[in-house]
């Protein structure tokens, strides 16, 4: 189990996804149990891998090799696909496992049986496998394959509500852009393969010399992945996708976006770590700022609760890009500031997963009770659903970065790091946060305050437990951020900061 944990975290949900339709033919109860057991298994595996990586450094697993650690062929070059898990990958895997534990139980009651529950669970498991695969793989073409696995599974889930006309439209738009992003990525891989005859990330990273062709490939990588992470001005698919997917599945879409962001960091920090200049860092910073401002402004006018929260989610991507982008700019000149900013950006990924996850769960609960997400028709739910109102308020405050919640803990690091680079960056980021707070205050008032509305069905426990888990996470991460920063976030941030040579050494030796 120990040595095989990284591959089991990917292969078991794949196998589980293939088998889910068969299991569902036997019994529906068994299927629910099966799906939940696999999500639990994945969470255990990624936790185990993370503990291993944080304790002993980069873990390598060669697929089909004579031993899992034999990375090189006789000529001292890697030939097989390998998983390479460093601090950042393990951290990303942890987020995926955590949100799987939240999303799958919530979906058990949220998706009605007659609406294709089996198929949606199949796609969810495949999406989960793709996300973990993206986080762990150390091979560029394999990365592309998992990018497509997540794209297709995600779009199937976005188009889930096929009886409305909006869901297929959102899914078509998203699929078009995902396909384009995957093709850009594939073209970049093809260019690198044509030049260096290799596909292994670590090996290519050592070969890259910053030639003109490398830059063409970098441009293709950037355009592909920035499309997939919904960075402005390429963000227009994301609110539709997040808004139209069933709320329980939107959580997986959020992790999907985050893992694409992780792919961007992997390309920039590891693959191009040796030849990068600050210009790319500034590009990331600029797009991050643009994303948070544009998304916050667009959120103001939304009448649909799902889309409003979706814009909030998109804006948080901007904060991560700002944090890590600042780290990228200052990496060479002021490494100490770079580490602070990187910690902020990386920590914000975890916080964003929890807060945005909780917000979407609240949206899902509201929609489940009232059957609509239109702010004009909602109101007065605070009397009937006090717990949901409390969770929504908590998550909104955390999203806006109000102390002592977790959003504050990571945003203060981002502000601190970016202030050293330029106070203007910090000012813009703070303003966007305030705007978001205003938007969410309006949403809270519109949905939960007002004259009492009778709430018919009681919320089942399968809704409440995931919400309680996320809420506890938000509060704990906000009250004692130091422990998590030290144990989980710092290894991940350091993997980006100075971890490139460790990553290469784990694969190539020396």
């Amino acid at each position: 189990m120990g040595t095989h944990a990284p591959i089991l975290a990917i292969a078991v949900p794949l196998l589980g996804g293939f088998a889910t339709p068969l299991v569902a033919r036997i019994s529906r109860v068994l299927r629910d149990f099966w799906v939940f057991a696999i999500a639990l298994f994945v969470a255990v595996c990624v936790g185990f891998v993370a503990a291993q990586v944080f304790a002993h450094g980069v873990t390598v697993y060669v697929l089909g090799g004579r031993t899992p650690q034999e990375t090189l062929a006789p000529g001292a070059f890697p030939i097989r696909i390998m998983l390479t898990v460093d601090g950042m990958s393990a951290f990303m895997g942890l987020i995926a496992g955590l949100l799987a534990l939240v999303a799958f139980p919530f979906a058990l009651r949220f998706i009605p049986e007659e609406e294709g529950k089996t198929l949606s669970f199949t796609l969810s498991l495949l999406l989960l496998a793709g996300i973990v695969g993206l986080a762990y793989t150390g091979d560029l073409f394999n990365f592309f394959v998992f990018l497509e696995v997540t794209s297709i599974a995600a779009c199937g889930l976005i188009g889930f509500r096929t009886w409305t006309s909006r869901a297929p439209e959102a899914a078509f738009k998203t699929m078009l852009l995902y396909a384009l992003s995957g093709l850009f990525f594939l073209m970049a891989v093809a260019f690198l393969y044509g030049e260096y005859g290799a596909l292994n990330l670590a090996f290519l990273s050592r070969q890259l010399r910053g030639s003109a062709l490398d830059r063409v490939a970098l441009a293709l990588f950037l355009s592909g992945l920035l499309l997939k992470v919904a960075a402005a001005p390429l963000h227009f698919w994301a609110p539709d996708a997040y808004g139209e997917a069933p709320a329980a599945k939107t959580l997986l879409l959020v992790v999907n976006t985050q893992v694409s962001l992780y792919g961007l960091w992997r390309i920039l920090f590891t693959l191009y770590g040796g030849v990068l200049d600050a210009g790319v860092g500034w590009l990331v910073v600029a797009m991050g700022l643009l994303t948070m401002v544009v998304a916050a402004v667009m959120a103001v006018g939304q009448q649909d609760l799902g889309r409003l929260v979706a814009y909030g989610a998109v804006s948080q991507i901007g904060y991560m890009m700002l944090g890590v982008g600042v780290g990228l700019v200052t990496l060479a000149g002021r490494p100490d500031y770079a580490l602070v900013a990187l910690k902020g950006g990386v920590f914000h990924m975890l916080n964003d997963a929890l807060t945005v996850g909780l917000l979407f769960l609240c949206v899902g609960a509201v929609e489940w009770v009232r059957g609509t997400r239109d702010l004009g028709e909602l109101g007065g739910l605070g009397h009937g659903l006090p717990e949901v109102a409390l969770f929504f308020l908590l998550a909104s405050l955390a999203l806006a970065g109000i102390p002592p919640l977790n959003g504050f803990a990571s945003k203060i690091l981002i502000y601190h790091g970016s202030f050293q680079l330029s106070p203007i960056l910090t000012a813009v980021a703070v303003l966007a946060s305030i705007l978001l707070l205003a938007v969410f205050a309006r949403a809270f008032q519109g949905v939960f305050l007002g004259p009492r509305v009778e709430v018919k069905p009681e919320l089942p426990w399968s809704f409440l437990i995931p919400m309680i888990v996320s809420a506890v996470g938000i509060v704990v991460l906000g009250l004692v951020p130091g422990f998590f920063l030290e144990q989980v976030v710092t290894p991940a941030a350091e993997a980006l900061w100075r971890g490139r040579h460790l990553y290469l050494a784990a694969v190539l030796g020396g």
């Binding site: 297709i152 006309s165 073209m187």
Partner: protein
């Protein structure tokens, strides 16, 4: 330049696909544009693997002594073709459902979700 003509042709195919995405507004034509890009990339991958005077990398009844072309790009192309089929199938399914709802395939008319 002349030596690279096959690569250039593949890229022209990709560019045609990109132009389709920019210029056309029919959902099916958008799918065709994505398909063009996919085919361009697949051709590019296969072209990368060619070795002058090479034979297929298969030993069954092969002539002795001839150089073999590179096998990896062929494997990658196989993967990428299947992925392309999957993408196309899913997009066409969405287009069919949109047509069922709206009675049109014009992207300008189906846009309910703006901004």
């Amino acid at each position: 330049m002349i030596g690279n003509l096959p690569f250039v042709v593949c890229m022209i195919l990709v560019a045609l696909g990109l132009w389709t995405l920019v210029a056309k507004r029919n959902l099916i034509k958008l799918v065709i544009g994505v398909g063009l890009i996919q085919n361009g990339v697949n051709l590019f991958l296969v072209a990368l693997g060619y070795v002058r005077g090479g034979i297929p990398p298969i030993y069954t009844l092969a002539p002795a002594g001839a150089p073999m072309v590179l096998p990896t790009p062929q494997a990658l192309t196989l993967t990428s073709i299947v992925i392309g089929v999957a993408t196309t199938a899913l997009m066409l399914a969405f287009a069919v459902v949109i047509y069922r709802h709206k009675g049109t395939l014009d992207a300008r008319k189906v846009r309910e979700l703006r901004g």
